[in-house]
Structures are given as structure tokens and as C-alpha cells.
Symmetry: C2
Subunit: 478 residues, 2 copies
């Protein structure tokens, strides 16, 4: 039975309101070309590639792409763009999911992928400073011999700058937090080309407004992030990973809720529904039983991990779980999590030619079982193929609709299901996105969720970017 709040009027997905796209001044193009040489491109292919992310959202190519190599260079580019009142869209790896990089009003894309230097690692302070284009895997590779690691892992091998800009999260967030908790400081180029550092390197501070947290999750609308200082963690003495199937999705979710409520410090606790398991079995050549399944990982000392495992096994067995299947070697563990990270691509492969419509919500954990159960009932009444997976220890889960991009009725139906899921999550005191962000895909939902508070965000945006040059048309209308 679907409850009443679902009859409330969900906001309609509206196409973004686009002002007429102004051509970029030839003088600006000439100046940028002179400054950057080969690292500036107006080629159609390059521009097209920079106007789309990994989602179903319509791409919008920028007029040109500037490949910056330093904070100073980004500042120069921004100053030039500001002079010509030309929009600026920062670009990391293009793996965002709500149209974040679409150049809705044209302008210059600043690609930071060549800003890929690890600038400094402070093992004693457990932190590292990197240029914005360094990816999470690159950083962990760099750290390999230090005994340290950086835990935040969205599915894609995203850039740290992009992860900061979208407040990224991932499978480890239940234990280590999200980018919100793990960015210590950033260097940011403001809309007028000024460069600021958001904080010192101390672990905590009560000195003024929390600019770090303001820029984390600002999706490029307040400035271009050029350097990021992140927290690192010691690689635990012991790591154990296991997979466990359940008779029903309710049983799996209840296991998660009880695990979290009993305070077991699990490092990862991931839910995959039967469709998602089927998808990764095929895509990653695995043989998991096709059933609602939890993937676990435990970090700690040998004794600590043994204790966590014991506690979780008791909870799981009370919910008729299968036996735990352990990843016995580091290689098996890597394979297990790579399969989890490839879930999106695996789901798409289930329906060749389909486009993915990924969406996510996050609710207080006490409402997680209800939210998932009602969502699954809703999906069962629809003919759109979908798969569900999630970082359920945080109350966060994802749906992927595999839609035929040429079938408007499928797009409309996915849109309807998405609206209902978001409305359901918000009614349960949750959020319209736990980790994907707003981009231009969830702007109407932001209004449903935040109401008058959106005007505060708009006020901040106007104060820091009065000409609306930084990634315009994202998060909210102005």
C-alpha cells in the first residue's frame, strides 16, 4: 500500500530555462588561444565530449575547452572570462550524474585533468594536498608505500576536485564520512579571478565561516576548485570482506538497520537487489546467488574485526541470511569491490543500447526499510527495467533506470517514478540526493526539500558571483 504523501503533487521535471546562448567574443577566444596554445580547443569533438556526463541528461557543449595546468592559469582564464562576462564550467573527469558539466549557456569549459600532481603528503598529519585533477585511484596508487589510504570512493575514478565540488561519497562513507568530513582545505579561484584558501591545515578551527564546507558541494557555481587537502587514514591491520544473500530485501535492510543501530563500526555495508546482482554477475563474470544481497567490509585490528564479524553474523542469521561468503585474498576483495563499483555499467549492459537514468535519495535509517519497500512496490507496477543498490548504512540508495533514449514514454515513466521516490524520501525527512548532487537534473526537488532556504543559497551565489558566470543554471534558477 502506497501512503498518502505520494498523492501530493510532485514537482514536474522541467527542462532548464535557457536564456539565448550568446556567442563567445572572438577577442576572448584569441586571448585564451594565445595564452594556452595547444591547450585551448574549439574543436567540435572536444567541446562535445566536455558537455556531457555519464547520465541521461541532454548534453550541452561549451564553446571552447581550456586545459589548465595550475591555479594561476585557472585564475587568468577566469579573469579573462569575467572581463567578457562569459560563463565558466569546471570539468574534472565528466563522471557526474545530474548534468553538472553541461554548458547550458555555452562559454568556456576549464578542464583540470592536466592538474594532476600530488603536491604534498604529510604522513604524520594523515593528510595530502593534490591538484584538483588528481583522481581517487591515482592518489591511492601514489600512497601505496605509505601505509595510508584515501577512503572516499564514488563508483567512477573521479577527480578529487570534482568529488569535492559534488560532495561525493561512496561505499566507505558509513565509516569514514563523505567529502564533507574529509576535505580539510581547498584552493579556489573566485568568479573575479581572486584566489583564496578556504582553511588552514589544522584538524579543527573555530575561525570564521566554514568556507571549506561552503565550497564542498557547490558544484562549480561559486568558484573553481584548483587544489584540495584531504584526510588520509592508516590502512587497517585487518580487512575482511564478505557477501551474504537474503531471502527478501526487507531482511537485508533490517540487517543493515540493526547493524548500524548496534554501533558496529562497519567500513562498508552495501545493498544490491536481485536485478543488480544479476547484472554484475553477467558483467563481471561472478556467480553470486541472484537474491537481495549485502556486501560487507570490516576494518580494524585482528581482534576488532573478529568481534565485528561475530556481531553482524548474529544479526544476519536472525534475518535468515545465507552463509557469509568471504573474499579470502586481497585480489578477491578487489574483484568484489570493483564489481560493486561497476554496478552502474553492469546495469546498463543488461539492456543493450539503453541509457542510464541514475538517481539517489537518502533517508534517516529508521525509514530506510519503508522507503525501499515502497519504492520496490512502485517499480513492480512499472515496466521500466531498473536496478537498486546503495550505501545503505547511511540510509542512501540508488536506482538506475535502463531507458530507451528514443522512447519518450519511457523517459516520462522514469521521470514519474523518480519524482515519486524523491517525494517519498523528502516526506520521510530525507533528501532528494544523498551523493549525486543537484546539477540541472534535480533543481525542482531542491525547492521541494529546502523551501525558503534556497533563497539563502541564491543570496550567497549572487554575493560571490554577481554576474552568474560560474557554472550557471545549476543547483537553482537565479
Amino acid at each position: 500500500m502506497l501512503t498518502d504523501y505520494l498523492t501530493m503533487t510532485a514537482p514536474l521535471m522541467t527542462a532548464p530555462v535557457l536564456p539565448a546562448r550568446k556567442p563567445v567574443a572572438p577577442e576572448l577566444i584569441a586571448s585564451l588561444r594565445q595564452r594556452l596554445g595547444d591547450r585551448f580547443s574549439t574543436s567540435e569533438a572536444i567541446c562535445a565530449q566536455h558537455g556531457r556526463d555519464e547520465s541521461y541528461h541532454a548534453p550541452h557543449a561549451p564553446d571552447a575547452v581550456a586545459f589548465a595546468q595550475s591555479t594561476e592559469e585557472v585564475a587568468e582564464i577566469v579573469r579573462l572570462c569575467a572581463e567578457y562576462k562569459t560563463p565558466i564550467v569546471p570539468f574534472g573527469t565528466g563522471t557526474s550524474l545530474e548534468g553538472h558539466v553541461a554548458a547550458l549557456r555555452g562559454g568556456i569549459c576549464i578542464d583540470v585533468s592536466q592538474m594532476n600532481q600530488v603536491l604534498r603528503v604529510n604522513p604524520e598529519d594523515l593528510d595530502a594536498t593534490v591538484q584538483a585533477g588528481v583522481t581517487r585511484k591515482q592518489l591511492n596508487e601514489y600512497l601505496r608505500d605509505t601505509g595510508l589510504f584515501f577512503p572516499i570512493d564514488p563508483g567512477a575514478d573521479a577527480s578529487l576536485g570534482g568529488m569535492a565540488a559534488t560532495r561525493a561519497s561512496g561505499t566507505n562513507a558509513v565509516r569514514y564520512g563523505t567529502m564533507r568530513e574529509n576535505v580539510l582545505s581547498m584552493t579556489v579561484v573566485l568568479s573575479d579571478g581572486r584566489v583564496i584558501k578556504t582553511a588552514q591545515r589544522a584538524r579543527k578551527s573555530a575561525a570564521g565561516y566554514d568556507l571549506t564546507r561552503l565550497f564542498v558541494g557547490s558544484e562549480g557555481t561559486l568558484g573553481v576548485i584548483t587544489e584540495v587537502t584531504v584526510r588520509l587514514y592508516g590502512i587497517p591491520e585487518a580487512i575482511s570482506a564478505a557477501v551474504c544473500a537474503f531471502p527478501t530485501i526487507d531482511a537485508a535492510v533490517d540487517t543493515v538497520i540493526e547493524t548500524i543501530q548496534s554501533g558496529v563500526p562497519v567500513a562498508r555495508i552495501e545493498l544490491l537487489d536481485e536485478a543488480q546482482i544479476d547484472a554484475i554477475n553477467k558483467y563481471s563474470k561472478l556467480d553470486h546467488r541472484v537474491a537481495p544481497t549485502l556486501f560487507f567490509e570490516f576494518h580494524g585490528s585482528d581482534a576488532g574485526v573478529a568481534e565485528q564479524v561475530e556481531n553482524v553474523k548474529v544479526i544476519a542469521s536472525e534475518h535468515q541470511a545465507d552463509d557469509f561468503r568471504w573474499a579470502k585474498t586481497p585480489e578477491e576483495r578487489t574483484k568484489l569491490w570493483q564489481a560493486r563499483h561497476d554496478a552502474y555499467y553492469a546495469a546498463l549492459a543488461l539492456r543493450p543500447g539503453s541509457k542510464g537514468w541514475p538517481t539517489d535519495v537518502c533517508v534517516p535509517i529508521s525509514r530506510l526499510a519503508d522507503c525501499i519497500a515502497e519504492t520496490k512496490r512502485d517499480l513492480a507496477q512499472s515496466n521500466i527495467p531498473s536496478a537498486l543498490a546503495g550505501h545503505v548504512g547511511d540510509g542512501n540508495f540508488h536506482l538506475i533506470f535502463m531507458i530507451d533514449p528514443h522512447a519518450p514514454e519511457e523517459i516520462a515513466e522514469a521521470s514519474r517514478l523518480n519524482e515519486r521516490m524523491v517525494a517519498r524520501a523528502i516526506a520521510m525527512e530525507g533528501t532528494c540526493t544523498g551523493e549525486h548532487g543537484i546539477g540541472y537534473g534535480k533543481m525542482e526537488f531542491l525547492l521541494s526539500e529546502h523551501g525558503a532556504a534556497v533563497s539563502v543559497m541564491q543570496g550567497i551565489k549572487r554575493a560571490l558571483d554577481p554576474d552568474n558566470l560560474m557554472n550557471p543554471g545549476k543547483i537553482f534558477h537565479l
Copy 2:
């Protein structure tokens, strides 16, 4: 040897620039009196009491005090004040330390101490929503039978609203984080009387700018916090507390650094220098050996705590520590931590008639030993009595100068020592305040630390409070 950066020009402590204080319009006084009756006061004693905090800063009484009982009432008061362009200063328990509550430009103090209802506890989600006037001890008392607790503990029994406004921290922050990590959402009355909620109750969200973290630490300059939703934690199965003296302060600090770097999840690790130990021995009738000392607390399962204790004992013994003295009963443990929380009052009692000048800094932990050692050498060359204590697991420590408030030369000397300590911390990539905040006592230091970034803070302030009515004259000049 004091290093070179201390010869850099430290900013001078300047008296706040106060515009002529305008009298409050009699019509506003009449309207507020009519609205609030007995809960509105212009009495000199009440006003004086609301214009000072627990520090050495010169008090500035407001023109009147309004005792609000609800968010709606705060909104009405703010709307009336806005109509008459009259400053507003929020007030919780008045236990801040940098002059936060001083009504530098007069106006109306909104005292939220009667907003003391615990509105909702969600044990399943490990969170609670309280009115802003609820104090941390009151909340923990309320939670007594739930098996849950709220860990953030500045020394004073401060209000949750005030703690959010100043981004408070305390002894447990090394394990549980500060108010930054532990506030999930707030209700805030903006400068025009509009009421917003900063976030939903989900543990994480990527929906728009992080308004929660913007208002945490904004010191009343962006709005009046009226309700706070905080994270709770299960009371650990096992808790052990111990005290351990060291031959030198370096040995104690090195023990802290190695403990943190080795990843032991200590719940509390507090340093007290010999002066501070002497003070609490006398004040709290204890018999600790007068030497640099660490107070520890360990949380976890029985086995987990035993493992942590073993690891820390090994590290401490390598630094010639005394034996650990254990607090064997919950009562002994409470007494131990109460003594730690009373450290400020104990230090003042060492010199009857003195006023306290408390200050704090926070540095990356790799610089903590240097920062403390250089600070202690600096203090040794001065005749101002002082005591040092700190939440050293975070790299955060405090000094208290016990000054004769009638001796200008003592004030000047404390000011000089404070400036040097702050300059030292900033040069070590630390912050001018780890947890006390800026108030009007550290405004010049904020500039030294943040440079151009202060203009971003000012821009946000102007956007949200164009008439500069909310706690004017704090954090930065406008």
C-alpha cells in the same frame, strides 16, 4: 630558540571600532514589552549580565533583553528589530570566551534560555532535536535511560544553540568530532525574520549548499539559531579512564602524537601542564602528582578497550610515563572529568582577584610538540601566571593567563604573548582558534589567518544581513 617567524609583525589587538551607539526607538521597546510582558526587561542588572561572557573582554550591555520561548517568538522579535534597524545579539548561557555576546552597538539581546525543551529523540536514528536553550548536560540527563549520549563537551554547561553558533568542541572531539560534525540540521531565524531549516534529518545529503555548516560557527552574525538537531551515540559497552604523569611536557606531547598517528581511537586524550594540575588539585581537592599529565578515556567493547589501553601503555612507557592511575568507578570517572572541565575556574582560583584571559590555537599534530615547546619557552620568560591545557589529540591547546584586570601592563603582556602564540600557530599551518571562536577578541587574527578569504565571509554576511543587525562587530569588521 624561538624561530624567525615570530619576528613577523603580529597584528595589534585593537579595540573594536564602535560607531556611536544609537538609542533604541521607544516604539520598539513598547512593542516588545507589549508582546512579551514580563519576559522583556530593560533593567540595568539584567542588561549588564547579558553583555558579558566568561572572559576578560570588556562587557557591553544591550539596551534590553527579550526572553523568547519559541521560534515564532524569536521571528517576531527579529522582525520588529529589523523594522527599527536595531541590532540583535543572541544569548544562550553567556559562557563564550571571545566577547561573543557583548552588545557592541547596543540593541536587543534575545535570551533563549527559556527555550529549553527537548523536542524529539529518535533513538533508532541516533539523533535528537532540541530548542536552542537546552544545555549539553540537560540533554544528557534527558537521555539517561535511552543508552545514548551526546558527546560534545566544552568546559561550561553551554546551550546547544550557543555551541552550534561557536562551533564548540571539547574533550571528546578527537573521537566524536566537533559541532561541525555533530549538527545535522538547525532552525534559524534570518535577519528579516524569515525562518529556515538548514537541512533534512538524513545523515548525508548532496542537495545544494551546506547551510548547516555555514551557520555552525557563524556566531550569531547570520541569524538566530532556535532549534538544533544533533547526532547521538550509543554509550559504549566499556569505558575506562586513566591519568598518567610524564617527566616533561615533550614526553607527554610525543605520547599524544604517536597515539594519534598509530590510529588508536582514543575517546579523550587531554594534556594539563604542571600549573594546571596544581590548580585542579587545589580547586577540586585532588592529589595528582604536579607534573605534565595526560588524562585518557577509552571507549569500545571490553576487548576493544583492553586493546587500546595496551597500545597506549606501550607508547607512554617509551616516554618514561608514570604508571596509569585508573578511575575505577563511574563516580571516580565523573570526578576526574569534572575536574578537567573546571580547569579554567581552577586556574583563576590560583590567583584570587584575577581575571582569566583564555585563548586557544590548533595546529597540525606534527607541529604540536614544537608549538607547545616554543610557547612554554615564551611563557617562561614572562612574569604573567598562566596554565596550559588542551584537547591535544586534535592539535588544539589552551592557555589561560591569570591577569590583574587593574594592571594595564599585565594586559599588554598577555596580549603580546597571545599574539606571539597565534602567529606561531598560523605559521605552523594552524588556526588562531581551535574552538573558542573569533568574537571580537580575535578579529585581527582572522585576517592574518584567512587573508582574502575574509572578504568572502564579508560578502556572505552582507548578502544575508544587509543592514548588519545580527550580532554586529563580531568575526570581522564590515
